[in-house]
Amino acid sequence: MLFFVAVVLLQSLLFDNLLLTGLIVPLYYVVFVVLLPVKIGRVWLLLLGALLGVVMDISMGTAGVNVIATTAVAFVRPMIINISMGKDITHESIPYGGAIAPKSFLLYASIVVVAHHALFFGFESLGSHLFFTLAKIVISSVATVVLVALTARLFRKIVG
């Protein structure tokens, strides 16, 4: 709950105001979906993802794009976890836990973030400025993955 609020505030107060260049627009808030416990029920995951999307849509004035992107990655998250972490995850309850190789976590986080950013910027531009949008997806995703990895490290230190 606290994490949810913190993520929303960070996104709307900090990252939405970082006017670096048109290409770096980190949608950091997706870190919430990335770091949720592994064993969370799929229905709960979807509902939390949709709720996060609604809050971000109101905050950014994007009228639905955040819900579309966030709910979609919440839906495919269990499959991404299976692909990227495989067996390791059976011993862990959190995606950033000690039994998981940093490489696997990075792969998992990257897939979630890229999928999310691609959906978000794709739906936002609706196919116009194709090259610009693609560059924006790639560069913003890199920025978000770095931020997500840092957050995961921080959590790992705190949790133990």
């Binding site: 709307s12 107060l13 939405d16 105001n17 006017l19 048109g22 627009v25 799929r42 229905v43 979807l46 509902l47 949709a50 999307g53 849509d57 109101i58 905050s59 950014m60 004035g61 994007t62 009228a63 639905g64 794009v65 819900v67 579309i68 709910t71 979609a72 839906f75 739906f123 936002e124 531009s125 609706l126 116009s128 400025h129 610009f132």
Partner: protein, 272 residues
């Protein structure tokens, strides 16, 4: 019965997923700029005070540049005023009842330029008589946008860099008009379309606003960067570099056209 419950449990997640996505896509496809502005008005009631606090920190670092700009502006206005004073007859004619525009200053507390539908939020609202369709200019007098929706203490304005933004623009030296719109790419450039093919413009010419119920006339929009006829040779196309730096809006001037409603009413009845 048990099997049915199992079945429902199995399809609950995909079903919910499809449902949420359908609702979201439906909402998104029917959304207009007004919907987006209303969403921002809601979130402003929570975040604007905090954003305002952040932007006041930035104030100290901008003082020098702002002072310079203000002095320059004073010089310009003094020069204009001097022309009026020299001609007492004209001063007399422009009595107070003939002031068609009201002015108001405000601060930008939240801004965006990197989306497709960009808005910015200012710290004046209904309490300060801010209403929809007031023009927003930079202190230099450059066009920045117009007010779309206002809450008690804040108002959401559509930036020129918004795909739903349109206004009229014309050249300063030849008065040929066109319609101005943003294509969703670079926030520093807009296009001016439907200019008659015989109108002549050169790179560097100044483009100013035409009068409308939102904008006062002759406010600088930007400068011609590229000018060429369209493929069918019926019209000309122009790319305009905006005079206002939309990514660094801070202090703005709101302009209200006192007879705006009458103007718009007449225009919508007979103008088309």
């Amino acid at each position: 019965m048990y099997k049915l419950i199992l079945f429902i449990r199995r399809i609950a997640a995909p079903l919910l997923f499809v449902l949420i996505e359908v609702v979201a896509i439906g909402y998104y496809s029917s959304a207009t700029s007004f919907t987006r502005a209303r969403l921002l008005t809601i979130s402003n009631s929570v975040t604007s005070d905090i954003n305002g606090a952040f932007s006041s920190v930035g104030d100290y670092f901008r003082l020098r540049g702002e002072n310079q700009m203000l002095t320059q502006r004073v010089v310009e206005l003094e020069a204009q005023l001097a022309r009026w004073v020299e001609d007492p007859e004209r001063v007399h004619l422009s009595a107070e009842e003939f002031a068609p525009y009201g002015f108001l200053e405000a601060r930008v507390v939240k801004n965006s330029v990197f989306g497709q539908h960009n808005f910015f939020t200012i710290n004046k609202g209904v309490l300060h008589d801010v209403e929809a369709n007031m023009a927003v200019l930079t202190p230099e007098g450059y066009v920045a946008g117009y007010v779309v929706a206002s809450s008690e203490r804040f108002a959401v304005c559509m930036s020129v860099a918004n795909r739903d933004f349109t206004m009229g623009g014309k050249g300063t030296h030849n008065d040929y008009m066109g319609s101005l719109a943003w294509d969703g790419g670079d926030y520093r450039r807009v296009r001016l379309e439907n200019i008659p093919h015989y109108a002549n413009f050169a790179v560097g010419d100044t483009i100013v606003s035409t009068i409308s119920y939102r904008f006062p006339p002759d406010r600088v929009i930007g400068y011609v960067e590229e000018f060429r006829p369209t493929e069918d040779r019926m019209n000309s196309y122009m790319r305009v570099r905006l005079a206002a730096d939309l990514s660094r809006l801070d202090r703005v001037v709101l302009v209200k056209f006192m007879d705006g409603e009458e103007f718009e009413e007449l225009h919508s009845q007979y103008g088309k």
